[in-house]
Point group: C2
Amino acid sequence: MYFEDFFVGFTFTTKSRMLGEEEIITFAKQYDPQPFHIDKVAAKESIYGGIIASGFHTMTTAFALSLETGLWAEASMGSPGMEEVRWFKPVRPGDTLTVRAEVISSEASKSRADIGRTGMLYQTFNQDGEEVMRWRTIHLLKRLP
Amino acid sequence: MYFEDFFVGFTFTTKSRMLGEEEIITFAKQYDPQPFHIDKVAAKESIYGGIIASGFHTMTTAFALSLETGLWAEASMGSPGMEEVRWFKPVRPGDTLTVRAEVISSEASKSRADIGRTGMLYQTFNQDGEEVMRWRTIHLLKRLP
């Protein structure tokens, strides 16, 4: 799929992935070592009442699920950034995440004829259908050869 | 340090960390397995001309550097989100990252007397002083006991 295939309103849903406690703690020890992510006792005494996943872990898991669809394999050339990153609800050990993605804008580059800018909304849901996270981003995509 | 200590205009600079090629590829294989992050040959033929770090890897490295200062140890209660996430320049194997953080807003919670909302700007620089990434975020912080 190329830039032209990601028309505004195109949506897809990813496979699901469960985040286990060990994985949550391992990630957080390296990248977000706050007590409520890595220390069961401290987490229990925190406002969260137990271990929760780092928001960066939720984000990277969601992004990996999106890549796993294979939809980006041909066209993706990276991203200049993200907007409106929101963590709505904690992700707890054993929660299963699924991502819904929607194309919300599509604009051919003015400076490069072979590139387009595709705006996406990524929403991540838990097993109860609750939205735990969202963000908007721009993908730089190759145009049809 | 508590909410009251993070006054508007307070800044700090972190230690520096070098991102090696193996670490870059290992992170990306798990969370951002795009060719220009994990495949040296494909990366060389891409617009980047070689392996570059996942933007999520730059972000999590920067966040870990901020936590390493110890400034957040007492007060941090997580974050509701981020704005204006920007990747300005590629981070390449061997690049050394340093983070400058600045308090840009400070607001006591209206609903909870023991919490404040502290707005931060995080800027990440490489060894040449070039800004490679930035984002804005809100930290939920405990107020002075």
